[in-house]
Amino acid sequence: MDGLITRSRPEPTSLRRSWMWLLASLVLHLVAISRQVDVDGISLFERTVVSVFSPVQHVLASIASGVSGAWGSFVDLRSVGEENLDLKARLRDAELRLLAQRAAVEENARLRVILDLKPRLPMTTLLADVVARNASPWFKTISIDKGSAQGVFYGATVLSPSGVLGRVISVSTNSASVQLLVDRDSGAAVLTERGRVDGVVSGVQDDGDGSPLLLMKYVPSLAFLGIGEFVVTSGLDQLFEKGLVVGTVLRIDEPAGLFKDVWVRPSASPAFAEQVFVSTVSKGGDPVPLR
């Protein structure tokens, strides 16, 4: 501890003044925090900060993505020939699968007409770039580069190609914050694909490796579920459209009471999401805020 050298002691009056400043600042902070409790929607402070920072964040994200892309292209060149052959083979397989799926979709559409069913997902979406991801240690949120000017509204569903990512919790003109499904305060009504077992998922951290998981609660202890079974949104919460993929059942804790805890691995990984889809029109057709 030879680095610790005592400096001169401050004057008592200046120290007293500092304590007064601390007290005044504490009171100011408490007033500022308590004001938010009664204020509905996004605060003026938050709106200003986000508006000022979001263009800079967007530029930084573009530069980072450009540098990363250039480096990736350089690295990719080394194994491009081998990869090309592999991709061609995969493309042939995919085309065959696509043909089969097209036939299935056409058959499905015919059956829908016969049964007079409307399509379940009348969502229009727009593509947004992720400009910041989990940058706060406390919350699982991401920032995107589309806001109210592009039609994003509070509560809009945010999707990745593999499933639900979360929903918009604050919107400014050209950016928005998204609360991820793996956040501890998030929630979604879900059901299992095969067993049609209802439940509610919210974010938790895995005790082992700390990776974000979902905990499906309120599942009756007698309900039948299988490991690896798909979990999809049920639409009962009026927040998410029905039938969107949420994840797969990872493990099931045997119940001590009436309900069992089902651990779900989210299908959409926010750690790798670079671009996301945001719904721009709600179920009714208008971009109506949810609160």
């Binding site: 501890m1 030879d2 680095g3 610790l4 050298i5 005592t6 400096r7 002691r9 401050p10 500092s18 400043w21 601390l22 600042s25 504490l26 902070h29 408490l30 500022a32 925090i33 938010q36 409790v37 605060s43 402070f45 938050e46 900060v49 986000v50 920072f53 800079v56 964040q57 930084l60 994200a61 980072a64 993505s65 990363s68 992720v130 400009v131 910041a132 991801r133 989990n134 940058a135 706060s136 240690p137 406390w138 919350f139 699982k140 949120t141 920032s143 919790i169 604050s170 914050s177 609360q179 956040d183 501890r184 305060d185 951290q205 005790d207 700390g210 750690a271 670079e274």
Partner: protein, 159 residues
Amino acid sequence: MKENLIALCLLLLSLLLQGGLSLFLPISAYLDLPLVVATWFALSRGEILGMVGGSLSGWLSEALFGRGIKGVSGLIRLVLGFALGLLGSRFLINGALPRFSLLLTVTVIDTRVFEWIAPSFGLSPVQYSPTAMTVRGSINATVGLVLFALFERHRARTA
């Protein structure tokens, strides 16, 4: 005045870096750059500017990346900035070991106090296990040591 402005710019830069780096790795789980810079700010500028720096880093971090009620982190870092400013005005904390210990302690206090206070404001923050907390604190402290050395070199050159 100029030095204070530079320090303030560094604080803002650290926030942008935190956001930018988060695109490649879950940086917040390991490193809190605004906290490290605010710690340096408080230690080198005294309690009043320490309060300002701490409070700003908390408020801006929450406004940019948080959700729900804002200002809880700002409140905690205000008090931390004040305490660090007092400490910095009384002692010269120069050695690597004292600095490492201080940064580790600051990270643990900041994280644990937030986890403790946040539920009172209706927030449910990520809870760090003791191991994750130690890793996070150690990484913050290591990065802090490097940054502190850089800041000092810059100050010595401009003095």
